[in-house]
């Protein structure tokens, strides 16, 4: 039984993908902000990777100083609205709110944060601007949360900044990857436009940096280069039949969905392979696109999934069924996908092993592989002296983001291996300061 009917118009799409954290109005913000205790040494701040002074901005909202609240937020995190909407707050700030210990609903920090930031985005109020020019310039590769945050901070520190982005829109996976019910394209793009208007960095869209020549040019023209390239395409599984029509990668599927909404077709019965947050998203999204049946297939047991509990609950809530302890061995079908052949597994002492002779075919007409994003190792190998760790992550100084090629700095998924928007935003701010320290020497 499908929970959702197939959306055929933008309106129906918006209904199926209604925002999980809708914006607050003034009254709701007043009520919610009134509950905050203004804790000393507040645990919510500590739980925020970008260290936003949460009790401060909530108090500012409560006293009718939304502009000051937005300033508090942006001073710590340039993706203020985006983070309020897409952060896994349940495991971050809201998960740390002291009210949890009193069995009282924690403060809705994310929604309050979005409330304050959207006020200034809407009004276009000038809160920030470029700092006194240093005469130096930095090239930023990638206009994702890392790249844009670095650009803002570098402008604030007085650098000329050019951002080179392969795609046509800014904010990286925030507009191409995050589930549509977490944030709309309009609002993330509005925040990006606001930041650009405040800080005045240049963004060159449809400008991938792919070759040694292009890199050399940047190395010659700029004093430092910031890598905010994130991760790559969905990793190949290396299974027979993976090239069949309707077998797709989650990241690619979601990127399509974010750009084309209801025009994206989903199978009637979809199997999503994986147990991480992206798998949960892809499964939920398939269901909301009107798939009759969505199966989430994971190699290990349910409680071993990497996804956050609340993300799994969200998927379950829209009718997704879990199939655990199964490993895919082949994508079957004649041209088109017609099923996945699985083998059952068991976990012993933390090791998964396949149970011989337990193969079976689960029929379906679409397979979404949510088995992780590949690292951009080919591109990174073009940078002389740049070292990666065993997992393909850029190695960089923890305090400055400086890579093993001193001219290059990195933040975000490409550095941390894949985390959240807030991590990229926080790291990039730190790294921009690292660049400043390096160029001030």
């Amino acid at each position: 039984m499908a929970e959702y009917s197939i959306p055929t118009t933008e309106q129906e799409f918006q209904l199926n993908f209604a925002q999980l954290k809708p914006h607050m109005n003034r009254t709701e913000a007043l009520y919610e902000s009134s509950r905050c205790l203004f804790c000393f040494d507040a645990p919510c701040i500590k739980a925020c990777p970008s260290g936003i002074d949460i009790p401060q901005f909530i108090r500012q909202i409560n006293s009718g100083n939304e502009t000051g609240a937005a300033r508090t937020i942006y001073e710590a995190n340039y993706f203020g609205n985006a983070c309020g909407k897409v952060c896994p707050t349940e495991v971050l700030c809201e998960g740390a709110c002291v009210y949890n210990l009193q069995d009282v609903k924690p403060i809705e920090i994310g929604r309050l944060q979005s409330y304050a930031t959207t006020q200034v985005i809407k009004s276009g109020k000038q809160l920030f601007g470029p700092g006194a020019a240093t005469g130096k310039s930095v090239a930023v590769i990638g206009a994702g949360p890392a790249g844009i945050s670095a650009a803002c901070e570098l402008r604030a520190l007085g650098y000329e900044v050019d951002v080179f982005e392969a795609k046509a829109q800014p904010s990286g996976l925030t507009v191409y990857g995050v589930a549509p019910y977490k944030i709309t394209n309009e609002e993330i793009l509005a925040e990006m436009a606001y930041l650009q208007a405040q800080f005045g960095y240049r963004v060159h869209f449809n400008s991938p940096i792919n070759s040694r020549e292009e890199l050399s040019k940047l190395e010659n023209e700029y004093d430092a280069i910031f890598l905010g390239i994130g991760l790559g395409k969905t990793s190949e599984l290396g299974l027979p039949g993976e090239d069949k029509i309707n077998c797709t990668g989650a990241v690619e599927f979601i990127a399509e969905l974010r750009q084309h909404h209801h025009e994206v077709a989903v199978g009637r019965k979809v199997i999503v392979l994986g147990g991480g947050n992206t798998a949960m998203d892809a499964a939920s999204e398939s269901s909301r696109l009107g798939a009759e049946q969505v199966i989430l297939a994971y190699r290990r047991a349910k409680d071993e999934m990497g996804a956050y509990g609340f993300e799994y609950d969200l998927a379950k809530g829209v009718g997704v069924k879990g199939l655990f302890n199964v490993a895919p061995v082949e994508i079957v079908g004649n041209g088109y996908v017609s099923g996945v052949k699985f083998i059952r597994t068991e976990t012993k002492d933390g090791k998964v092993s396949e149970i011989a002779g337990s193969e079976f075919v689960e029929p379906c007409d679409m397979v979404i592989k949510a088995t992780g994003q590949a690292k951009q190792t080919n591109f990174l190998s073009l940078i002389p002296g740049l070292k990666l760790d065993g997992k393909g992550r850029i190695i960089a100084n923890a305090h400055t983001g400086q890579t093993t090629n001193p001219k290059y700095f990195a933040s975000g998924d490409a550095w941390n291996g894949g985390a959240e928007v807030v991590n990229a935003a926080a790291e990039a701010k730190l790294t921009a300061r690292g660049i400043h320290a390096y160029l001030s020497k």
């Binding site: 804790c39 260290g51 936003i52 002074d53 730190l430």
Partner: protein, 462 residues
């Protein structure tokens, strides 16, 4: 079932809850509706000289998300024709003969007082309330609080009224005076049967910070008004107590000020109020609140074993003493129940910054610890703690000694000069001033500061 009915200075009513003289008692329609809803009495909106009102008229004090914790108005007395008011009083009394209808009055000359008292009497009013309280508009014309602040004038007017009144006379007192017992004594000297208090407190309820004018704003300007609502209850309670305890006043008291539920009413009664009057709460929530008030009062009386209202009136008065009679040997100490603590550390910061540095934080836990030797037992931490019964104040003295300031004075055992050994804080520990520097860093510094230079390193709390 306990008996809620009262006989207040000769005015009978089925319960002690009266509507105060204010907009809710502006018309027969409203008073009938209120009686129908369960109110025991109503003090009619003050009748008297003709007036004209302005618009707007009210301002509110909101606390965070709570509306109208305080309320203020710049309204005057009834602007309806006296004849209409009197006719409607008569109609209400016919329909509700056992409910109390009290005529609130405010005029100027002796003749006017005589006339209006007689007319109200003829209309069937059960008593009179002389409005000597209104702190705006009327006092400029020599009435209201202008009278209430002049005990001699007050006494004279009461005497005029007593010349013709055949029903009980209540004098309503203004709190805009330094000693409330003075006008109360004047009322007694004039022969009044009872007093009621408090009227509104002169106030500016807030300022429109965009247009630079006080609320409520009348065409860009404003004026001081009268303050009431939940926020004034503590002031009212104290004044009720002062009048109730004064040995020479000895008049029934109708308690007014910040009463919104049965609990507020009981507090007024325990300090000496024989009836209570309500205005703001009825304006905010309507007459329906009476159901909760009567049911709460009834339940309280059942639980405490009170059968009549008289049994609880003034019940707390013996325990309200002058400061000098309090036992200085009594000692309480704060106690944190760790299993209830949610780690907000409000108690810590409150005691650190606002009390006696008697709470410490320990590494590895968010539950603060009381430093018993430093705790003076001020209650602050237990008042700020958001968790019920998480910080309790426990008695730590043996309970065997009793010594008051008065006793010490009589025994010549009080500190008399600066730096006297006998003074209280003499041996109380306080940290060195410079130990304060850098302490605020215990607060996690926000993101902006969380950069590079180690600024945000949390110093390990000793």
């Amino acid at each position: 079932m306990p008996d809620l009915s009262i006989n207040f200075a000769g005015i009978k009513s089925p319960n002690p809850f009266w509507l105060a003289s204010a907009p809710p008692t502006n018309s027969g329609y409203q008073v009938m509706k209120a009686f129908d809803a369960g109110w025991g009495g109503a003090v009619w909106k003050t009748m008297g000289v003709p007036v004209v009102n302005v618009s707007s008229r009210y301002g509110g004090v909101n606390y965070r998300d709570k509306r109208l914790v305080g309320f203020n108005n710049i309204e005057l007395i009834s602007d309806r024709p006296l004849a209409d008011n009197l006719r409607e009083i008569e109609e209400v009394k016919k329909r509700f003969p056992n409910h109390a209808v009290i005529a609130s009055l405010m005029v100027q000359s002796r003749q006017e007082w005589h006339d209006i008292v007689r007319q109200s009497q003829d209309a069937g009013a059960d008593g009179f309330e002389l409005n000597f309280g209104c702190p705006h508009g009327m006092c400029e014309r020599g009435m209201g609080s202008a009278v209430g602040q002049e005990p001699k004038v007050l006494q004279t007017i009461v005497e005029w009224v007593m010349e013709v009144a055949q029903k009980p006379v209540i004098v309503k007192l203004t709190p805009n005076i330094s000693d409330i017992t003075e006008p109360a004594l004047a009322a007694r000297r004039g022969g009044a049967d009872a007093i009621s208090l408090i009227n509104t407190i002169q106030s500016i309820v807030g300022v429109d910070i965009d247009n630079f004018a006080p609320y409520p704003v009348v065409d860009g300007k404003g004026t001081n008004g009268g303050y009431c609502g939940p926020a004034v209850k503590p002031i009212a309670l104290n004044m009720v107590k002062n009048c109730a305890q004064h040995p020479d006043i000895r008049l029934p008291i109708s308690g007014i000020g910040g009463i919104e539920n049965w609990r507020d009413a009981v507090e007024h009664m325990l300090l000496g109020a024989g009836s209570v009057q309500v205005c703001t709460a009825a304006m905010h929530f309507g007459f329906g609140i009476i159901r909760e008030m009567t049911s709460g009062l009834e339940q309280y009386m059942v639980e405490k074993g009170f059968e009549t209202i008289d049994q609880l009136v003034g019940k707390a008065l013996p325990n309200v003493l002058p400061w000098e009679d309090l036992n200085m040997k009594y000692k309480v100490t704060a106690n944190i129940h760790a299993e209830k603590c949610i780690g907000c550390q409000l108690c810590y910061t409150a005691c650190e910054d606002g009390a006696h540095q008697a709470i410490r934080l320990n590494a590895g836990t968010r539950v603060p610890e009381i430093i018993e030797e430093n705790c003076v037992g001020c209650n602050l931490c237990s008042l700020v703690c958001p968790v019920e019964q998480c910080i309790t104040m426990e008695r730590t003295d043996a309970g065997t000694q009793h010594l008051t300031w008065k006793g010490r004075t009589e025994a010549g055992d009080v500190p008399v000069e600066f730096n006297d050994e006998k003074a209280g804080g003499r041996h109380h520990w306080v940290p060195e001033p410079a130990a304060a520097l850098g302490k605020e860093r215990h607060k996690t510094l926000p993101g902006k500061a969380r950069v590079l230079n180690g600024e945000t390193e949390m110093p390990a709390e000793a």
